[in-house]
């Protein structure tokens, strides 16, 4: 094949019908622009919404749950092994929420290649004393640096500074709802009573907003040390270990492994947040369906224009064939016309798609639920641009293929004789 010659012929035929060719290319441009814009916007939104759940949620959580023993003593006894043991009214056993040997567990977790990071946590039930009223609350004791690094807690602290939690003794960061209820602001001191009756004064150093009312009204954060002091526990008392993995998909398989290995309860993200993937995949399906529809419409445009061109160019096709161009050459002339339309239209589509998504990225989008988001989220990902141009090439190739095949089968004798 002499690609250079074929390409030149295609180019001349295209330029001779410039307006039609431009219209065909604009169809492709429109399709690709919409694809890029839609997919960037949709996946940006997906990432944001997933992040809402994923950012603040450990992939695997190790904890001790209060529940009845699975193995009652009678079941363990060899004497009654071949009996059917019926025990009624089994009650949960009092057992400490503390994770035993937590320091060693965390050390061994950090050595696991699959693990990105490990954050210790203490959960304490407290009352916030406001005048004569006690408000229910939960204080989460956290390792400030690790929590920010792994779970982006800093992003959600809307007022004050997260780092103060570590540097200021007896400090607390309150949820926005709780702070409003108590009428406190940064610098104020609040009274806290634990479930066991111990009282402590804590200074408010920040206010966070997760955008989930249940959390913002009840939860608050303090450093691990402050919480241990509040509970009167030693400095290795930890009730939860939060694990973030390098690959989220491994979580369901790893949770039972850790459960067995460390003798604690373990739960993975997928199990307690089963719904979060459904929304993502449905939004993706919609995006791709709309984009493919647009491209197919553009493809029909190209198909029509090429078909017309072939009818107009019957004489030229006949003469090319009579002077020694084979059917294959003629086919490639028309396919390359189609591909030129596809490549140029697609490239402009990518450029316009980038421009449009950049514009959307500037549109203000402020919502109480998402304190860190100021504009519409856009996911700029080279991968989608790659898909876009491949889409454009495939549709234009297919749209060009059938007219080109028809052109290759034109019988020159019939055309020349028919005159």
């Amino acid at each position: 094949m002499q690609w250079h010659l074929i390409f030149n012929i295609s180019k001349t035929l295209l330029l001779a019908r410039l307006r039609q060719s431009v219209i065909a290319a604009v169809g492709v441009t429109f399709g690709i622009t919409m694809f890029i814009t839609l997919v960037s916007f949709m996946t940006g939104l997906n990432k944001l919404l997933d992040g809402l759940i994923l950012n603040r949620t450990p992939h695997i959580r190790l904890y001790n749950e209060i529940k009845p023993s699975e193995n009652q003593p009678v079941n363990l006894s060899l004497d009654y092994a071949d009996h059917i043991n019926m025990i009624r009214s089994v009650k949960p056993k009092e057992r400490p929420l503390e994770i035993y040997n937590s320091q060693a567990i965390m050390r061994s977790l950090k050595e696991d290649d699959r693990v990105l990071g490990v954050a210790p946590k203490i959960t304490a039930q407290v009352f916030f004393n406001v005048g004569a009223i006690d408000l229910n609350g939960i204080i989460n004791g956290i390792d400030v640096l690790v929590e920010d690094q792994l779970f982006y807690f800093g992003d959600y602290v809307t007022k004050g500074n997260l780092r103060d939690l570590q540097t200021v003794n007896n400090s607390i960061i309150l949820g926005k709802g709780a702070a409003e209820k108590m009428l406190v602001d940064i610098g104020d001191v609040i009274q806290v009573t634990t479930a066991r009756g111990e009282r402590l004064s804590l200074k408010v150093v920040g206010i966070f907003q997760l955008g989930i009312a249940d959390v913002d009204n009840v939860q608050s954060y303090a450093s691990i040390q402050t919480t241990q002091k509040l509970l009167g526990e030693s400095n290795n008392y930890i009730t939860d270990i939060h694990i973030k993995l390098k690959n989220l998909d491994l979580a369901p398989a790893m949770a039972p492994e850790y459960k067995k290995l460390y003798g604690t309860d373990a739960i993975d993200l997928q199990t307690f947040n089963a719904q979060f993937e459904t929304g993502t995949s449905i939004r993706n399906i919609i995006t791709y369906a709309v984009s493919i529809t647009l491209l197919i419409v553009a493809g029909f445009g190209i198909y029509n224009i090429l078909n017309m061109m072939i009818y107009e160019k019957m004489d030229s096709i006949a003469i090319l064939k009579a002077t020694g161009f084979s059917g294959k050459d003629v086919k490639w002339i028309f396919i390359s016309i189609s591909l030129i339309i596809g490549i140029s239209g697609g490239t402009f589509g990518l450029i316009f798609g980038y421009i449009f998504s950049s514009i959307i990225n500037q549109i203000p989008f402020e919502t109480a639920a998402l304190p860190t988001v100021k504009t519409f989220p856009i996911n700029f990902n080279v991968f989608y641009y790659l898909i876009g141009i491949v889409f454009a090439l495939i549709t234009t190739y297919v749209a060009g293929f059938f007219p080109a095949k028809k052109a290759s089968q034109v019988d020159p004798v019939e055309i020349i004789r028919g005159k």
Partner: protein, 226 residues
């Protein structure tokens, strides 16, 4: 004894639409190098049909066609294209230039396709051809912008670009006035004399035919006189 350029052996051709009809009946003849042959006959006697078979564009026939010592039977589309490109030059009644291209590009096209010479060589060959036909001043013009007589000369230049063994014409003067017909005839005559190319011209024009070396007369699908 000069070399045989073209030979046919009992070519039969049928049209099946609307009813089966035999248009060529056992056509056998041969052509030597340097021969200037014209084919005459009434409309519908099959002379154009024969020409299309000889040109390898029509492949639905019985019998054998031998071009330059090689049988055309069972050759693929690709191979036949190559034969047309290299060995046959074509001039039609209607000029059939590619209207989007310039005169020069039209002439160069089969040469570029053959790719035996570089693009520069093909271009200078094409300009030489145009010069020898007296139309080199038209080289840069669009093919759609020149007159009928000029178009026919451009078509001849194109037919000559690859130095074909044989030039075939289907009523090449049929659409031209007397003056232009004469010019075309003179060009053909000159070609046969000077470059040793064979010419096979289908024509209605008895005046034209009478001046060629040999006349093949056809009637009702048969060669009646040659």
């Amino acid at each position: 004894m000069e070399k045989l350029i073209l030979e046919t052996n009992k070519i039969n051709k049928y049209f099946h639409d609307p009813v089966t009809n035999q248009v060529l009946k056992e056509v056998s003849f041969s052509m030597k190098q340097r021969e200037f042959v014209s084919v005459v006959g009434k409309s519908g006697c099959g002379k154009s049909t024969l020409l299309y078979i000889l040109s390898t564009m029509d492949t639905e026939y019985e019998g054998d066609l031998i071009l330059d010592g090689v049988s055309m039977q069972g050759k693929s589309d690709e191979e036949l294209s190559r034969v047309r490109n290299e060995k046959i030059g074509f001039v039609f009644q209607f000029h059939y230039l590619l209207p989007e291209f310039s005169v020069l590009q039209n002439v160069m096209m089969p040469g570029l396709k053959l790719a035996k010479h570089s693009a520069q060589e093909v271009e200078s060959n094409a300009i030489d051809r145009l010069k020898s036909l007296g139309i080199d001043h038209l080289a840069a013009k669009r093919a759609s912008q020149i007159s009928g007589g000029e178009k026919q000369r451009v078509a001849i230049a194109r037919a000559l670009i690859n130095n074909p063994l044989i030039i075939m014409g289907d009523e090449p003067t049929g659409n031209l006035d007397h003056k232009n017909s004469d010019i075309v005839f003179d060009i053909f005559h000159q070609l046969a004399e000077e470059t040793g190319q064979s010419l096979l011209i289908v024509t209605h024009d008895h005046d034209f035919a009478s001046r060629t070396d040999r006349i093949i007369e056809m009637d009702d699908g048969r060669i009646v006189n040659h």
